[in-house]
């Protein structure tokens, strides 16, 4: 067979591989590269110049330090909130398409219409909130403040548009988030070269705006109305791996980009007054800093509000749990955009709405009743039986409680009775199980029902939809069933019972009835029935109805009774378990379960019980849909609680009073008995210290109550500090002294008492790790024997006899048990670690700089911040640090203008910006301002302008000023053209260093660049020191030598007295001083000058007059404008605009007008010098009396020569001849000159030749001479040798 000639392997001659090989080869030959050169030839690389060396060193250091940022504590939470990606660009550039493509890229879902923010899970550790930003400057400003990443879309076929630059400038002012450019419409270029050129041009312009090297993406073209998959994929990858630097404003303020809004107003109020203030709840991820309850927030475009309630909800778009695999599976690719109607599950405070989707609903519609029946059949035992067999363990090591235990105490419920009649009237109770807190919501709901009569309940429970329709409350059971047929259900479940119970028993009337009846019995037993409760319940239902009405797109009411299906709900149950609301659960409870030993917990459980009830009662319009079958369970639950109380009641001894007070009295219970409590606390620390928290803060819910009361007063602008309650006022009025007097002093003469503080002194015993002797011993041990880790040699110090024994023993032990081995291993590791630490310390000593130290400190703090509350549950954490960023929160806000709800446009972002302490106040704000170089006009003092500072956008009237060299702030009429100036306005206080920008109008018809000025806040104060120049003028009416009497400057002697000693000046520059007032005329004064004045002089005095800044602060309420007109907000108009609008011409001051200058001709008289003076003058200055150079006398005048024609001819001939001669002479001279030159050259040549000759000659001569000499020398050297021979 013929072997085919295969192509031989060819060595690579170029490329990185070849280069590497070449290098290796060179290295083998010892010819290496630069470094080797350095080694080979050290002299060439030696220091040539110390100065240059120093300079280069400085330069490298400069470059190094330039890269440093001030280290900040990294406060990003472990589970950070989604990154806000703002997609910005001029209209028709492809923003929506890009968002759609991105969402499809990440989630494989296609959203047709995008409204508001869309949150998606983009990776294992990252979520994105994508929001579109239009060209409305309001929106641009707001979104620039919350953006983490900006995708700046640029139409390449058109180039940059004003909006892009405006947005860049806005971003720069508000902290500069990451910006990524995206070029679109690249397919419109026909020629490749032109495309390349455009790309390059745009890129460089973009770089100058952002920073050199900023990422710019190219989306080459559309395929079927979408961008190319690969490009979008790449863009998505870039977004998911992007790193962000924390922005100062964002990290120091909590903020929320709301992705959902609900109206919670009482529909009755709305009915009576459609313009009434609304109560809304807003949902969103908390970002930035920790948010405290009851704090102030600003909603840009609406105004300032106090948060009335915050609660955190389960994350609707959670990150995947386990992180082992590389990529997400389809289930984890969540998308959440409630404003666009996307996201299967909606969370409320105590309910979950599950969107079952149209198609599924239709499928299951066929036989839902059947399935329900089936599910009922499939339960093998009855609920009662299950209830009876179910057991609950209250404490980890206590006996589980069964229903039989409960039944014994079932009837006895005195505590609950007591708590019905508190001011809110709502009765709620809570079951406490040591480890769970979720039941409360359901439980409390159930209690409401339990306390109501059956009829009431029916009415109420059925009324939730019917109120929405505005119908009467009387509806049959049948209708109740049909009303349940809402596809979007609200499922409320309790962990304990959900397994046993179907969520709804809607199609089975009997079941419903029976359960209801059962419950009614129980309710009767507890004998609590109140109208107020019923009323309340109705309120709640109404509010819920309104809420549902507020978002009709979420509600697809289906009248047919069988739209609901149980199985569906059961499948969704998993979601609901996890989302069982914990909103009511107080941190108190969590604490109690944590901290309190079992013996103590009787008090706490009981208290908490009542507290929680109160808390629940306070969470007033809590939407609750009643699930009748659950009521049964809850009834049992309550029994259980009471049982617990009963069981533990005996243990309450000394705390009874305390307990009593918490149960009965109103707001300031913890203030009662205070001194006694304090005494107790500190005399018996051992017992009471676990309750320290309670002692100080009372109970959490009570605090809330108190704050509620305070809130009520805050509305009136007051903040209550002390209340004249029965006993606490005594405490408030007692001596406030920080000294802590010793109440029960120890007897310090006793030895044991003295010993109790022995170790507080350096003379006492030290801890193990700090005892000097111990450490010394350890060190010895450490250094005595060590192992050389590189060679593996073990060096032993002098082995003491006991160590050897120990070793032997250890060896023996090792064989015996592994634990000893482990400990030995640990010991060894410890030793190693210690050695390493010591080495590190030694090594780093020289290296660590201030910067490193600072960074290390910050890192340590960050670690501490993370670790401190890590192991606590969210409820407790929220109490301590507030709601932390990354949580999905629901914020209730009251007194929102109705336009906010009525004119709600989901395209516009709703931002809740948290305000720091006292940032809600107003005062005078001073700032450094510069008119934007692209803005066409200059700005005028006292013209209203719109500022964007902090979260806010508002209109105010600034005054511009400039600071003089002596610190005086002088008013400017206009801003300087190309210079910074100061601006001062009356408005909200914003921390110093905050950037701001100003626009003259936010309505959308401005043709040019809209940003008028930018700058930074410098100072905040309650007063202002801007002055303007004031010149007072007066006229002399009597002039003595240097003294003059001046009038017309002041009006009274008093005024003069105020200005005594002031400096005055005349226009001509003569300086003077005010001396004293004159009696008449009024306001005249005596003044002295450095010279005598003239009557025509004008005297003036320069003074400074303080200017007041108008107290005008008008927040831009653009969000309240009707849909579609949100960019038309216009505030106060400038006087110029007003004049234009009303056609009022400015009346010009006649004196200020320019007139033609008419000047009289000045006649000067001739200079006349007196004779006496003339005589005295030196000759030089004397006026010369010489007669003018007149005519020469006749005898001196020579007569004119008149030639004869003949003579004239001769003269002409002579002239001609002389001309010819002179020409000849000239030529001859030239020739001679040339000749001379040539001759000189020749001479030189000859000379050179001569010299050369001579030189040669001399050379020859010298050579001969040299040879001769050498010969001589040789001979002389040889001579003696020869002689020797």
């Amino acid at each position: 067979m013929e072997t085919k000639d295969q192509k031989k392997h060819r060595k690579k001659n170029s490329g990185p591989k070849a280069e590497k090989k070449k290098k290796r080869h060179l290295q083998d030959l010892q010819l290496g590269d630069e470094e080797d050169a350095r080694k080979r030839n050290p002299k060439a690389f030696a220091v040539q110049s110390a100065v240059r060396m120093a300079r280069s060193f400085h330069r490298t250091q400069d470059l190094k330090t330039k890269k440093h940022h001030i280290p900040v504590v990294d406060r990003t939470p472990l589970e950070p909130p989604p990154i806000v990606v703002v997609v910005m660009g001029p209209p028709k550039v492809g923003k929506s398409t890009l968002i759609q493509c991105l969402i499809r890229n990440f989630t494989r879902q296609k959203l047709t219409e995008i409204r508001g923010p869309v949150t998606i899970v983009s990776g294992k550790k990252r979520r994105l909130t994508i929001i579109e930003c239009g060209c409305d400057i309001n929106m641009m400003i707001d979104l620039a403040k919350v953006a983490d990443l900006v995708l700046m879309l640029i139409d390449a076929s058109f180039g940059f548009e004003m909006e892009t630059f405006e947005f860049l400038n806005i971003c720069q002012v508000h902290g500069f988030p990451k910006i990524m450019g995206v070029l679109t419409h690249l397919d419109s270029f026909k020629h490749n070269k032109q495309l390349k050129k455009t790309k390059k041009r745009l890129k460089h312009r973009f770089w100058t705006e952002v920073y050199p090297g900023a990422k710019l993406f190219y989306l080459s073209g559309m395929v079927h109305g979408e961008y190319q998959n690969q490009e979008i994929h790449n863009l998505g990858r870039f977004i998911t791996v992007m790193k962000f630097r924390p922005l100062t404003w964002q990290t120091s303020h909590p903020y929320i980009l709301a992705d959902r809004m609900e109206d919670l107003t009482n529909p009755e109020d709305v009915r009576t007054n459609t313009k009434c203030d609304r109560k809304v709840s807003l949902y969103g991820y908390l970002r930035g800093a920790h948010l405290k309850n009851k704090s102030q927030v600003h909603i840009p475009g609406v105004g300032d509000f106090a948060v009335s309630d915050v609660s955190f909800l389960p994350d609707p778009c959670a990150l995947p749990e386990q992180q082992k695999k590389r990529c997400l599976n389809e289930k984890e690719k969540l998308v959440y955009a409630p404003l666009s109607g996307v996201g299967g599950v909606l969370y409320d405070k105590d309910a979950v709405y599950v969107d079952l989707g149209g198609s599924h609903g239709f499928q299951e519609e066929v036989r839902p009743t059947h399935e329900l029946v089936q599910s009922l059949i499939s339960t093998h035992s009855t609920i009662d039986a299950k209830m009876a067999s179910s057991r609950v363990t209250l404490f980890s090591d206590s006996k589980p409680l069964g229903s039989e235990d409960i039944d014994n105490q079932g009837q006895w419920m005195p505590k609950e009775e007591k708590q019905v009649d508190l001011k809110t009237g709502r009765v709620r109770r809570k079951a406490i199980f040591g480890d769970e807190e979720e039941d409360e919501s359901g439980d409390s709901d159930d209690e409401d029902d339990e306390d109501m009569s059956e009829g009431d309940r029916l009415e109420n429970s059925s009324s939730d939809d019917e109120t929405e329709e505005g119908q009467d409350a009387e509806v049959t059971d049948k209708q109740y069933m049909s009303d349940q047929g809402i596809k979007r259900q609200k499922l409320e479940m309790e962990e304990d019972f959900e397994v046993d119970l179907p969520a709804f028993a809607d199609s089975d009337d009997d079941l419903e009835r029976s359960s209801v009846e059962e419950e009614a019995e129980e309710a009767d037993e507890s004998s609590e029935e109140e109208d107020s409760i019923a009323e309340e319940e109705r309120d709640i239902l109404e509010s819920k109805a309104v809420r549902e009405g507020g978002k009709p797109e979420l509600l697809q009411t289906d009248d047919s009774s069988d739209s609901l299906n149980v199985e569906k709900s059961l499948t969704k149950k998993k979601a609901t378990f996890t989302t069982l609301d914990s909103g009511h659960c107080t941190a108190e409870e969590a604490f109690a379960s944590e901290d309190e030993p079992e013996g103590n917990s009787s008090l706490s459980t009981e208290e908490e019980d009542s507290e929680n009830e109160e808390a629940i009662r306070k969470k007033f319009p809590k939407p609750s849909q009643v699930v009748s079958s659950q009521k049964l369970g809850s009834g049992n639950l309550i029994d259980e609680t009471s049982d617990i109380e009963d069981l533990l009641k005996e243990e309450e001894n000394y705390k009874e009073e305390n307990n009593y007070s918490t149960e009965t009295s109103g707001a300031l219970k913890w203030k009662e008995d205070l001194s006694r409590k304090a005494a107790e606390a500190f005399l018996r620390q051992q017992q009471t210290t676990p309750n320290l928290r309670k002692l100080i803060y009372g109970t959490v819910t009570e605090d809330n109550e108190e704050e509620d009361g305070d809130n009520g007063e805050e509305l009136g602008g007051l903040f209550r500090v002390s209340q004249p309650a029965s006993e606490c006022k005594h405490k408030a009025d007692s001596l406030d002294c920080s000294r802590f007097h010793v109440e029960a002093p120890h007897d310090w003469d006793l030895e044991e008492v003295m010993n109790s503080i022995r170790d507080c002194f350096v003379t006492g015993k030290w801890e193990e790790d700090k005892d000097a002797a111990k450490i010394l011993a350890e060190d010895e041990e450490l250094y005595g024997d060590f192992e050389d880790l590189e060679t593996g040699d073990v060096h032993r110090g002098k082995p003491g006899p006991d160590t050897q024994i120990e070793d032997v023993e250890e060896e023996v032990k090792e064989e015996i048990d592994p634990s000893a081995e482990e400990s030995a291993k640990k010991k060894h590791l410890d030793k190693k670690r210690k050695l390493k630490e010591m080495f590190d310390a030694e090594y780093d000593e020289g290296e660590s700089t201030y910067f490193d130290d600072l960074k290390g400190e910050m890192q340590k703090q960050a670690q501490l911040n993370r670790a401190e509350f890590e192991d606590q549950d969210d409820e407790a954490r929220v109490q301590y640090e507030g709601f932390r960023p990354g949580m999905y929160v629901r914020i209730e806000i009251e007194n929102v203008p109705c336009e906010f709800v009525l004119n709600f446009d989901p395209h516009y972002p709703i931002i809740l910006g948290g305000l720091g302490n006292s940032e809600g106040n107003v005062g005078y704000v001073q700032m450094r301002l510069k008119k934007h170089r692209w803005y066409k006009k200059i700005l005028k003092s006292r013209d209203p302008i719109i500022f964007s500072v902090g979260w806010r956008r508002f209109q105010t009237i600034p005054l511009y000023y400039i600071e003089d060299h002596n610190g005086r702030q002088r008013l400017l009429k206009y801003t300087p053209q190309h210079m910074h100036c100061g601006a001062s306005f009356w408005g909200p206080i914003t921390p110093q260093g905050t950037g701001f920008l100003a626009v003259q109008s936010v309505s959308g018809n401005m043709p040019d660049f809209r940003i008028a000025a930018t700058g930074v806040v410098l100072d905040l104060d309650k007063s202002i020191k801007i002055v303007k120049k004031l010149k007072l003028t007066g006229f002399p009416y009597k002039i003595f030598k240097n003294t003059s009497f001046i009038k017309g400057m002041f009006n009274s002697a008093l005024e003069v007295a105020k200005f005594e000693g002031a400096v005055i000046r005349t226009v001509s520059g003569i300086r003077g001083q005010i001396k004293k007032a004159l009696r008449a005329p009024e306001g005249a004064f005596r003044a002295t000058f450095e010279d005598k004045l003239l009557m025509s002089d004008i005297v003036f005095m320069r003074t400074w007059y303080p200017v007041s800044v108008p107290a005008f602060y008008n927040p831009v309420t653009s969000l309240l404008k009707p849909v579609g007109e949100k960019d038309t907000w216009s505030g106060m108009r400038t006087t110029g605009q007003l004049r234009l609008a009303h056609g009022i011409k400015l009346k010009a001051n006649k004196d200020s007008l320019y007139k033609p200058i008419v000047r009289q001709k000045k006649h000067f008289n001739s200079l006349h010098i007196p004779k006496a003076l003339q005589k005295a003058l030196p000759f030089k200055s004397k006026p010369k009396t010489q007669a003018k150079a007149g005519k020469t006398p006749k005898d001196r005048v020579r007569p004119a020569v008149i030639r004869e024609p003949h003579e004239r001819k001769i003269l002409a001939l002579l002239d001609a001849l002389s001309t010819v001669h002179s020409e000849k002479m000239k030529k001859a001279k030239e020739q001679r000159h040339l000749h001379n030159k040539e001759h000189f050259k020749m001479k030189q040549k000859e000379e050179e030749e001569k010299l050369k000759r001579q030189k040669d000659l001399r050379k020859k001569l010298y050579r001969i001479q040299g040879q001769k000499e050498r010969r001589n020398q040789k001979s002389s050297l040889k001579g003696p040798e020869e002689q020797l021979k």
Binding site: R75, L692, I696, D703, R739, L1018, K1022
Partner: protein, 346 residues
């Protein structure tokens, strides 16, 4: 900083208490700019709308009913957040039996503030003249630099007491009194630690104020820079029985031992100051180990809750086997991220 109203029952108001409070309000008015204070005609309701802390150089005559310490305590809280560094001369009673004296504040509060990053050469508290109740006549100079933000603190380990210092003062009495105090105090403290030095401070002439008196303040310093203090002053002239200096010295030493027994990283008088400055820190975790909380501190914590919505995590650290006094309380909080809004940016 919200406006607030305070009311009190007319029955409990005494003329005296109104007097020193009025002086305090005047002081607040002096150091602030733009605050609004309204007191109704009966003097039972006070409306206070806080302004901006301004600072600068000023003088204030304090009421002699309370010692300067009473005024100084609040100034210590406010001074770091002024617009201009505060330099104030306070006149009145420097040492009395009720409030922490200037000596104690100087020895304990100033090092505490230094932990929060308030430091510098202009940070000082000086007793120019000493004045005892009831006459007063003392003078104190206090100056404090301004800071934009405070550092978070982690004071968990108080360390061990390495030295005890003290100041025995006497004005308008025999200078021998101070020496007698020193001897008696040493007799008790020497059992614990040898490094004790108690200075005697006898002021004469105009520096001695208007009333006679004597007293002792003791400070124990630990290896980790914690200062624990105790003090006692003689009864004011004409009130109560005469006190023997020996008794006073011994009692004061015992008080110091009590304070050491209570322990913690912050003196019991300065607990509230430490907690306030922790609250006003950045949004970082601050920790401090305290002895048992004084009633004043407890009240203060409640006020912190009302004003800043801040709650402290309170953990009790039982003393256990070690002979280190009573139980301690570990207070942990996350600062509210307060920054000095008065300071001018240049």
């Amino acid at each position: 900083m919200k406006p607030c109203t305070m009311e009190r029952n007319l029955v409990t108001v005494r003329k005296a208490s109104v007097d020193f409070e009025a002086s305090f309000i005047r002081l607040l008015d002096k150091v602030t700019n733009g605050s609004r204070i309204e007191i109704n005609q009966t003097g039972t309701t006070l409306y206070y709308q806080p302004g901006l802390l301004y600072g600068g150089s000023m003088e204030h005559d304090c009421s002699v009913l309370r010692s300067i310490g009473y005024y100084l305590e609040s100034l210590l809280c406010l001074a770091p957040f002024m617009k201009h560094p505060l330099r104030i001369v306070l006149r009145g009673v420097t040492n009395d039996q009720v409030d922490p004296s200037v000596d104690v504040l100087k020895a304990t509060a100033l090092p505490l503030l230094k932990q929060f990053g308030i430091d510098g050469e202009s940070f000082e508290l000086k007793v120019v003249r000493r004045g005892m109740p009831p006459g007063g006549g003392g003078e104190v100079f206090f100056s404090c630099p301004v800071r934009k933000i405070l550092k978070p603190i982690q004071l968990i380990d108080p360390g061990k007491i390495k030295r005890i210092r003290g100041m025995a003062y006497s004005v308008r009495v025999s200078p021998q009194m101070a020496n007698r105090i020193v001897d008696s105090a040493r007799s008790i403290l020497n059992k614990f630690i040898p490094d004790i030095y108690i200075y005697t401070d006898h002021m004469k002439g105009i520096n001695s104020g208007k009333s006679p008196g004597f007293g002792l303040s003791l400070v124990a310093e630990t290896t980790n820079g914690t200062f624990l203090s105790a003090e006692l002053a003689s009864n004011p002239q004409g009130q109560g029985a005469a006190m023997l200096p020996e008794d006073l010295g011994r009692n004061c030493a015992r008080l110091l031992l009590e304070e050491i027994y209570r322990g913690g990283c912050v003196d019991s008088t300065n607990q509230s100051l430490a907690l306030l400055l922790m609250t006003l820190g950045q949004q970082d975790v601050s920790k401090v180990l305290l002895g048992p909380l004084s009633p004043y501190t407890i009240e203060f914590l409640r006020h912190l809750k009302t004003f800043f919505q801040i709650m402290f995590k309170i953990e009790t650290k039982p003393c256990g086997e070690e002979l280190k006094g009573g139980d301690k309380v570990l207070m942990t909080c996350v600062g509210i991220g307060f920054s000095n809004l008065s300071k001018t940016l240049k």
